[in-house]
Each structure stands twice: as structure tokens, then as C-alpha cells.
């Protein structure tokens, strides 16, 4: 009995974390793709390691009230922009909103949880802030959540851009 409890206790975190990883991997591999343009916001969040934080340009989003949750639907442009935003309970179901993200309104800025991207240590000298013409590739899980899968600068992946252009070291 004691050993059975121990087995269950050790398996619970492993099974839950493995399921979570698997779900995120599936979303990353098969989720609907959108590209969103981004712009500089804060300096890097040093407390969270090598993460670049930025503001996502969703386009015209109705975020008039602070501390409300909304949904943002996206068009098929590249980069995508908002085609509708509002209460998630009123989400259009007529095919207009096949791609959407849930957002929390902090003052007038919507936040969807995709405002952070991990960058490797060797790129950090080149990226004190988000360069112009930057965008992120996001995979959607169909339930309003997204995972950032790529960081593009002028349509090139980050690593390639840094290698091919000669960014001035600060």
C-alpha cells in the first residue's frame, strides 16, 4: 500500500508534465499559423533569463475597459491583423473567426501570453530591443491560446538575420 502511494506520487508530476508537453508539441506542429508584427516595448526581462519582451501589433482592438478579458479574431493577411474583437461569448461562428486569441486587457493594451520569446545568450548583444520589421509566428490551438514558434526580422529567422546582416554591437 505504501509503495503504491509512492508510485502514484512520483508518477503524477511526470504524467501531467508529459501530457502538457505533448499537447504543446501537437499545437506547435499542427496548429493554425498566423504571423503578427511586433514592436519594441520593454527592455529584456532579465529576471526570466534570456527573454525578449515586446508589444504585439494586433491592429484595431476594442480594449476600452481595463481588466477585461476579450477575444481577438484575425484575418488571413500576413502579418495578420484583428478583424474583430470583443467579448468571447459573442465570438462570431460564421467562419469569420477561424483564428482567434484570448486576451486580457491591461489598461488599453491586450495581452495574449505571446509577448515573450527566448533568445540565446550569443544573440543578446545584438538584441537590446526589438528591431524594425520584426514579427512572430504563432501557432493557435483553436481554444484561444497561442505558442510563439519563430521570431522573424524582415521575414528572416532570427539566427539567419543576425548571421547575414552586420548588426552593430552596442
Amino acid at each position: 500500500m505504501k509503495n503504491k502511494n509512492l508510485i502514484i506520487s512520483t508518477l503524477i508530476p511526470i504524467v501531467i508534465l508529459a501530457s502538457w508537453s505533448l499537447y504543446l508539441s501537437l499545437v506547435r506542429a499542427q496548429g493554425e499559423v498566423i504571423e503578427l508584427s511586433i514592436k519594441a516595448r520593454d527592455p529584456r526581462d532579465l529576471l526570466a533569463g534570456q527573454y525578449l519582451t515586446y508589444a504585439v501589433d494586433y491592429g484595431n482592438v476594442n480594449c476600452l475597459q481595463k481588466y477585461t478579458d476579450i477575444c481577438i479574431c484575425f484575418n488571413n493577411n500576413r502579418p495578420a491583423k484583428s478583424s474583430w474583437s470583443g467579448n468571447c461569448n459573442n465570438l462570431p461562428h460564421n467562419g469569420q473567426c477561424s483564428k482567434y486569441l484570448k486576451a486580457s486587457c491591461r489598461w488599453s493594451t491586450p495581452e495574449t501570453g505571446i509577448e515573450k520569446y527566448y533568445i540565446p545568450e550569443e544573440y543578446s548583444p545584438y538584441l537590446k530591443r526589438v528591431p524594425d520589421k520584426s514579427s512572430i509566428v504563432v501557432r493557435l490551438d483553436g481554444y484561444g491560446n497561442g505558442i510563439v514558434t519563430d521570431f522573424l526580422i524582415d521575414q528572416k529567422p532570427l539566427a539567419e538575420y543576425i548571421k547575414t546582416t552586420h548588426l552593430q554591437q552596442p
Partner: protein, 377 residues
Amino acid sequence: MKNIQTQTSKWVKEGLITPEQAAKLIAYEQSSASRSWVNYGVMGIGIIAILTGIISIIAANWYFIPATTKLLCYFALQGFLAFLIIRDKGNSPIVREGLILAFNLLVLGGIALISQIFNLRGEGWRALLLWILLTLPLMYQAKWQLTAHLWMFAATLTGMIWAFSRSSENIQLTSRFLFIGGFAYLFAAMPLLKQLRLPLHILKPMQVWSYLYLLGWITVFANMSWAMNHYSHHQDFISPTHLLFFIGSVTIFGVAALSSGRSKQFCWTLGGMGIFLAIFTIIPITLRVNGLSLVGAVGSITIWGLAAAAAAFDNQQKLFNLASAAIAIRFIVIYFEIFGSLAATGIGLIISGAIILLVAYAWNKVRKSIFLLLEPK
């Protein structure tokens, strides 16, 4: 070990114990040497050093390792630790507890790894909340208080980080404190409820952290609420839900204290402390009675005094020392609140230092006699 041998030799010489009793004491201490906290501390340092070294090597080559490899290696390591824990073929308690501690710490590492690989943006309190939920069953299975202390610390930290996080910005600060305070009361009530049959390795840490939370966090917040003019100038909305939750938790705590089955003095003192603290917290924030520093100071000293008395009635010397030390510190703070500007001068600094030494001396002298007076006979 050498200490117990020296002590027992002294006692035998003084005729306090017989040589046979001395031998039994030494044999007992030798058999329970695994409970030595020095062993635990050294083992803890070793585990942390190994993990830090592994992390450093991996960090240096992090970007070049594919995400799938990272995840597979993590789960392999986690699974291996699980296997060692389950196998437990007569491992010494230190090894078993060390493995459980390493397993739990690695779970936190796993959460951070998944967040990094998938660029998940979440506040720290979410990761900690997930961690405490995932490691709760194993924490229960451990025998080592350190594992439970770490878990309780993480639980306390989760609440504190949430209170100041972006997620809770839509809730007024006062309501957040009431919400967390309610949980602190529930935590403090649990060790008193015999029906829960909490194991000792969980009971003690739960007592320590819940009372630290109540005495160190809620009491200070209440003291500041009385002293500052915040509520008379601002219209903070106190959420009725959070207020009711706080009152409900206080009620549960009061009932648990009064029905704990311990000495009457303990039950009434502890229950009284809890209820007094709740009233002391609620009055300034609901009735907007503020700018009364003296009331805040006297109230907080009363609360710590009641907590110290309850600890003494229950023969809990460490908690008594903690609560009485808080009183001593509060007197020093009062001195600096009134005469703080004097500390800018040389004479003032000397007087301040003398006051601090005097308070420390008085605390050391007086607390022992008060504890002996109050401890159950």
C-alpha cells in the same frame, strides 16, 4: 556524537545517570545519527552543487540542443529519480529523503524548461502553484521536514507573488490581503484539527509557516493600515466575497483552536489571538479608521504577546522565541519611529545601539522565565 559522550560522562560523574543509562543514550544517538541536521545540510549542499554544475554545462550549450532532446533527457532523469525512490532497497533515510527533494526540485526545473521551450508567458506564481500541486502527494510521502518546509515556503511565496502580480491588479490590494489572509488562517487551522491526522513532518512546518504568515505578514499589514492615512483618502473597494472568505476562515480557525483538545489556556489564547488579529485587520480597512500609529503598535504587540503565550502553553519554545523576538523588534521600531532622527547624530547612534542591546538583553533574560512560567506542568 562527541557532544553527547561528553555530556553523558559529565552526568555520570555528577551521579545524575548510571553508566548503563549513559551507554543506552549513546547507543540511541548513534542509531538515529541520520537525524543529524548537519548530515542533512551537507547532503543538501551536495545535491545543490551537483544540480548547479549540470545546469551550468547545459546552459552553455543550450541553444544547440534540440527541443525534443531536452524534453526527453528531462523526462528520463525525472523517471530515473522516480525509479530510485520507488525501489528504495533499504536506502538510508538520508538517501531516500535526498532523492525526494531532488525529484521535487527537478519538477520545478521541468516546468521552467517547458515554459522556455514553448515560449510560454506566465507569471512566477503560476509556475509555483503548479509545482506545489504536482509535488503535494510526494511531499506527503516524505519523512523529512525540510521537504515540507520547502513546500510550505513555496505555498507562502505563491500567495505573496500573486498579491503583487499583474494577474491580481483588478482586485484592490486590501481584498488581496484578505484573500491570502483567509488561506493563512486555514493553514493555521489544519494542524489543530486532529481529525486530519497530519503526519508530524507536515504538522510542524505547517505551524511554522502559517504562523509566520499571520504574524509576519497579516499583522504588519494591519499595523500599517492603522498607522497610514491611506483608507481615509482612498475609496478602496473591499470585495464582499474576499471579506466573507476571510471571516469564514477566521471562524474555522477559532473553532479549531477551541476544540483542539489541548490545554484550556492554549485553546483560549490561540483562539483569542486569531480573532483579535482578524478584528485588528478588518476595522481600519472597513471603517476607514486610520492615522492611529499607537493603536497599530499596541495591537501588533498584543497579537504577538498572545501568540507567544499560546506557544508557551503548548511547550513550543521556538515559536515562543520567535513571537517574543517580534515584540522586542517592535519596541526597537517604536523607538526609531519616535527618536529616529537622533540616529543621524553620533550620540544618538550610541544611545540607539545601547537601546537595542538593552532590549536584546531584556528579551534573553525575561523570555526564559516567562516560558517556564507558562509551559504546561
